[in-house]
């Protein structure tokens, strides 16, 4: 039987299957099933800075902007945040008590303010690591690329200064120099980088001529973007890498490991097949490894990365000219 153990989040994992932060990891019952089904680690649902802001806005909206409540609600965001943080801390403790796999706390923040303090509370609650889910949509036309990068780096550095447990970062692909950004994050001291975060996206409703939410769950075809970047960066940056988005089966997970991922993070497929699917997926990975003669994940990891592949040009190729010249549908 192949040895599936690996390292991510600066931690030893019994296998590379990490349950990504999602609504599913907001439930102790689900997390118990994931653990029983053999998952290597679980990232708890992020506590969202934005959620607090929206809840705060909702409270004020209910008061109709009445001046009677301006004083009472003036700092109520602190109260909401405090309650949310308390609930989250309690949840971390409950999960840690219930399962024996690494438990990763997750923070989704859009500013580098006092959310940084929250990282120490996650650590104190017993989390094995922290995943920072950082994202600002670079839609401000007056902000330079370097300002956006500075936000990520300063937030990461501030959190690293506060905690002793490993910190990883889950990022999007929206960087003007993605590879350089990952390198800088690694140099700042993060234990790992997960690529790529999947966001709420807008769509157009043709019937009502209005905007609506696009599909929330990923589709299998989305795996190619993280595959490219895992392949390009594996072995070339000083941190571990995890792939996420579009990984719906064992084959895609294996592809990511071959490209150089240390771990894979999955969520959408479990919405379709339930938490117990983790067991099946791991069995399929193991079967493939046995068939191909890989004794361990370590042995296969990065075999087809940019650094190790015989034809690394595939990772850098972006134009279709020749491909379509030969493509007949």
């Amino acid at each position: 039987m192949a040895n599936l153990s690996t390292r991510f989040f600066g931690l030893e994992l019994k296998n590379p299957l990490v349950i990504a932060s999602s609504g599913l990891t907001n439930s102790l019952e689900n997390i118990k099933i994931f653990a029983e089904s053999g998952a290597g680690a679980v990232v708890l649902k992020s506590i969202f800075e934005e959620e607090v802001y929206f809840e705060y806005e909702e409270m004020m909206r209910k008061q109709g902007g009445s001046h009677h409540f301006h004083e009472h609600l003036d700092y109520f965001d602190y109260q909401i945040k405090d309650e949310n943080v308390k609930d989250y801390i309690r949840f971390i403790s409950d999960v840690k008590e219930a399962v024996d796999i690494p438990v990763v706390g997750s923070i989704n923040c859009i500013s580098s303010g006092d959310w940084v303090q929250f990282a120490s509370k996650i650590e104190a609650a017993g989390a094995d690591a922290i995943e920072l889910n950082l994202f600002i949509l670079p839609s401000d036309l007056n902000k330079s690329a370097s300002e956006a990068s500075e936000f990520y780096l300063s937030t990461v550095k501030a959190v690293l200064a506060k905690v002793n447990i490993p910190v990883s970062v889950k990022i999007s692909s929206y960087f003007s120099n993605l590879g350089g950004m990952v390198k800088e994050l690694a140099e700042a001291g993060v234990a790992g980088v997960t690529m790529f975060n999947r966001f709420y996206s807008p769509d157009v409703d043709l019937n009502s001529l209005s905007l609506k939410a696009a599909n929330v769950l990923s589709s299998p075809s989305e795996y190619v973007m993280p595959l490219r970047w895992i392949g390009l960066l594996a072995g070339r940056v000083e941190c571990q890498l995890a792939a996420t988005t579009g990984i719906h089966d064992a084959d895609t997970a294996i592809k990511m490991l071959l490209a150089g991922a240390d771990a894979v993070q999955l969520a959408s497929i479990f919405y379709h097949k339930g938490p117990a699917y983790a067991k099946e997926l791991l069995a399929e990975m193991e079967k493939w490894m046995d068939e191909k003669g890989f004794a361990s994940v370590e042995e296969m990891k990065g075999k087809l990365s940019f650094t190790n592949a015989k034809n690394p040009g595939w990772y850098e190729r972006v134009q279709f000219m020749n491909y379509f010249g030969e493509y007949n549908g």
């Binding site: 806005e57 009677h68 301006h70 004083e71 609600l73 700092y75 602190y78």
Partner: protein, 494 residues
Amino acid sequence: MTVNTDYLKEQRGQEWRVELRKKIKNKDRLTIERVKMPEMDPMERIKYQDKEVNLGLTLDAAMREASRCMDCANPTCIEGCPVSINIPKFVKNIERGEILDAASTLKETSALPAVCGRVCPQEKQCEARCFYVEKMKKDPVAIGYLERFAADYERESGSMSIPNVEDANGVKVATIGSGPAALSFAGDMVKLGYDVTVFEALHEIGGVLKYGIPEFRLPNSIVDVELDNLRKMGVKFETNFVVGRTASVEDLEEQGFKAFFVGSGAGLPRFMNIPGENYNGIMSSNEYLTRVNLMNAADDSYDTPVLKGKNVAVIGGGNTAMDSVRTAKRLGAERAMIIYRRSLEEMPARVEEVKHAMEEGIEFINLHNPVEYFANENGRVNKMKVQRMELGEPDASGRRRPVALDEYVELDVDLVVVAVGVSPNPLIPSCMPDLEVSRWGTIEVNEDKMQTSIPQLFAGGDIVRGGATVILAMGDGRKAAESMHGFLKEKYNL
């Protein structure tokens, strides 16, 4: 509260009102400038914690101001008052010099006119709905000043009127708490003939009016006179009585109380939960103001101590923050600062309070927010780190929201008062398991009736709203009294 338009019309049609309207032409009324409130000199007044800043109008000034009122056919000012005071009627009584009648008019619907005349944000309520503002874009009639004048005049005249009270019906009801909501409720219920007892946990009646608002804004003696008025109407007061500890609601029911109004307020301080907030020398505005206002800590002859600082920072921008920082100044602070994360324009404090604070030398450090406190070797706060803010888009309150910048400043401080809001007192909800409460500890009520999940229990004020103004709490008390009366009438065939 709903406004009885027929009653207003009938009152407006009284001969004396008709004659008074004819006495001065409207165009002449419009030319009169709004009165200015005489104030104690700022450098003199900061020497005293218990001397009122506003000195009140003279009779002449009040009558002249009252003559600005147009006695509108559609008095929109009343719609702006949470307790529906018949504003034109009391103002016109002042104009004709019948000040005691003006005071009686106030007491028709308000249990605390001298209080409201001092602490209500009239500029956002009745005065904001005044004809002068809505139609003429001019300064409103100074309704708040006139309310205070009428109440003070009556008190000083020595002939306080006692509102009519119906024959006793023998039904015992109680309030839990003695703040503005409970007192307003008590006043209305006693008028309806109920046997009303007010239970107060502290040694003084008045709730936030006593422990929260400093005497330079609302002298305790003024509150006491209003309380005495309620006492004369038949309201009974029990101090040092903690419902839920001294006796439970069930115990009181066994003693014959048929229904209760919970007005136990929001006295639980909130903090920001930032690093260093537990150092000595950092306290809530509740603690600071209660020590000074209720326990006389500023007076060395009293046992209650209070920390005094040279460099005092007060966090927040509401009236409580203004009360705290102005108290600190009066207790000898060399540098008394407001640290507020929005700009002056977004401050929830009354404009008058901000103006008074500025006159008294309070330093306003706006667009800054504390992020960490530091202490000396004894654990006493000696420094704070504040983050610069800028204003973003308007939030749901209509005010521009603060957005943090990556810029920090350090300030030397030796006393910090945190005035960022309060939470409901948890005792009553915690000892009544069937009582429905929100996630934030407020009691859930049917908003039309102020009735809780326990039918004989009504509630209002900050224990329901989390935090609001004195007058809104009074409005709740009135609404609860009306619906409790309906409930008891039906239940006991009164």
